[in-house]
Point group: C2
Chain length 155, copies 2
Amino acid sequence: MKMFSDAAEYGMRAVVWLADHPGNVWTVREIADGTKSKAGYLIRVLQSLARAGIVSSQRGVGGGVSLEADPQHVTILDVLNAVDPMARIKTCPLGLKSHGTKLCSLHRRVDEAMAMIEAEFAKVTISALLKDSNPTYPLCESGDRLVRLGLKRVK
Amino acid sequence: MKMFSDAAEYGMRAVVWLADHPGNVWTVREIADGTKSKAGYLIRVLQSLARAGIVSSQRGVGGGVSLEADPQHVTILDVLNAVDPMARIKTCPLGLKSHGTKLCSLHRRVDEAMAMIEAEFAKVTISALLKDSNPTYPLCESGDRLVRLGLKRVK
């Protein structure tokens, strides 16, 4: 089992990448290249992020995608909730009538695990992910990062 | 996003149901009915559980499936590991060479979340799930449970 769905993984990569490339609008192709994502799927994820106000998207010439929200305030959970929220268990998955919303111990434990994950991911902002580059920098070969920061010359 | 895959959900239901119906062998159809699962998919999950030694499965006349392991020792994590283990992140999902096994903050956080879930599920045995019937009993209409325990007469 994966922790993140493909949509969640793509959404996180895109938001982290955009936060790391501020002050510009980017084409879907550029974001896909930067995050090693498939453009066709990424575009749907970006639409979800735009609906949630995390990115902004302008069509047409000179248009593109940029980060709309403040990366100091956007958390991993915000991104998940925008693209593929945790499917919290609200009623008995077996459809047992006497259970209804009174989850049994099995499904209560599973739901509690999801609540725990949500709480953990609500603590971590995109800025925090970018600041924490130990040992490696998100979505970026270590050398490239040094090049972009002007700390290393391109060969 | 779901916490449990379908395989994990089916595996947990089957093991909880078998632990609750000890001292007998059951057909796949009976387990499927008892756990409201699709028999065709359940059979594959039961094969995984048999390979892990959690259930035993005998073919032929008089054969069937029963719980092999001690429900006081089998945990939710054991069942997950048998049918659909957490896909812990060991190397950079983007394939970045400079990252390799040195996960960046994003993928480290996701992997840590999976580790947290594993640790939680390692604490909970099947017996514990069955003992904790507040407010409802796993996989069972409340009335049925009372009937089976002889505490309520069938109408």
